[in-house]
Amino acid sequence: MSSSVSASQDQRKLSVLGRFGYGSIPMITQFVADAAQEARLDEDAVFHCQMAVDEACTNVIEHAYGEDPNGNFEVSCWIERGKVTIQIVDQGKSFDPTTAPAPKMSANLDEIRPGGVGIHLIKKLMDEVRFERTERGNVLTLVKIGQPLAEHLVSTGIPVREESPGVWVVAPIGQVDSLIASDLDQTLSDLVSQGRNHLVIDLAEVTYMSSKGIKALVSGWRQARDSGGEFILCAIAPRVQAIIDTIGLGQIFAIHSTLSDALTAISAVK
C-alpha cells in the first residue's frame, strides 16, 4: 500500500514539523483538531483524532526516539469534506506500533498487561490505521471519516434581522477573521442591493476582527450611504475599537456604545 497521499483539487494538506517532546503534544493535537474541523467532522470525531494523534506522537517520542529530545517528526493532515488523513513521519528507530500485542485487562491481577494501550486506542478511535517503514522513516497513516456537518452548523453565519420597519441589524458573532470577513462583505452588499440600506452593525458579540473585516464594514458603509441610506456601528469591544482606531477609521464611522442608542439614532434619520 502506498505511503504517499496525493493532493487533489479538493484535498488540502497542512503539516507541522519539529523536534517535539511530550510538551509539544497539545500544540500538535490542536493542529489536528483544527484540520478535522475544517474537514467538517463532528465534535466526537474531532476528539478521536486528537486522542489518536496524542497516542501516536507519544509512541514516536517514547519508542522511535527513546525520549531523545532531538527527535524530529512531522505530522501532516490532508483535508477533504468528511475525511481527514493524518500521517506521522519520524526518522527514529524502526518501530511498528501496529504489531504491538494488544493490552490485556483481566480480573486476574497477574494477567494484566497494560502495554500497547496507546495503539489499541488508536485502532479503536480511527477508521484506518496503516504503518510502513520507507526511506522517509516510520510512516503511520491514520484516517477518520464521518458525515460532514451541514453548512449552517459549521459557519458562524452572519445573523441579520429587521429590527423595525426598514431598519436592519447585522450582528456577527465571535472572531471575524479573514474567512468570515468575506461572508460579511457579501451579506452587506446583498442587503444594500435589496434596498435595505438603513443598517446597524451590532458588534457586541465580536471578539476579534482583521483588516478584511473592517474593509467589509467600510465597503458596506459606502454602499449604504451612496444609496441614500445610513450605516451605524455599535457595542464595539475595546480591542476591536483599537484596531479600527489604528487604521484611522474611528472618525468616519458613526459609532454608538449600545444597540438601543444606535437604533434611536438611525430612526431619527430615517
Binding site: S106, L109, P114, G118, L121
Partner: protein, 110 residues
C-alpha cells in the same frame, strides 16, 4: 495538572484536575506511589475535574491498582466525564476498575 490527596478514615481520596497526558502522568503516579509507600491500601481517584486523559494516565492508574491489590487493597474511580469515560471503556479499564458516578458512593464502597 493538579493532585490533591485527602486522607480519610478508610481511604485516601485523590482528586485530580486538568490534563493527565504523557507529560503529567508520571507526576500523578509519583504522588500515588508516595502514599502507597506510606502504607495506603485503599484509594479513590476522583476524575471529575480531569478534562483529558491519555494512555500515560491510564497506565499510572493500572500500576497503582496492581500495587495496592498485591497488599490486599483496591483502587476505585469516580465521576469521569463522558470523554474520559469513553477512553476508560475503549481501553478496557471498565473491566478491572470499579467506576462510580459519585465520590460519596466510591468512598462509601470501602
Amino acid at each position: 495538572m493538579d493532585v490533591k490527596i485527602q486522607e480519610m478514615n478508610r481511604v485516601d481520596l485523590v482528586e485530580v484536575s486538568g490534563r493527565v497526558d504523557s507529560s503529567t502522568a508520571a507526576d500523578l503516579g509519583a504522588k500515588m506511589n508516595e502514599r502507597i509507600n506510606n502504607g495506603t491500601l485503599n484509594i479513590v481517584v476522583d476524575l471529575s475535574q480531569v478534562d483529558y486523559m491519555s494512555s500515560g494516565g491510564l497506565r499510572e492508574l493500572v500500576a497503582a491498582l496492581k500495587r495496592v491489590k498485591k497488599d490486599g487493597g483496591d483502587l476505585r474511580l469516580c465521576s469521569p466525564s463522558p470523554r474520559v469515560r469513553e477512553v476508560l471503556d475503549l481501553a478496557g479499564l471498565d473491566t478491572i476498575f470499579q467506576i462510580f458516578e459519585e465520590q460519596v458512593k466510591a468512598v462509601g464502597s470501602f
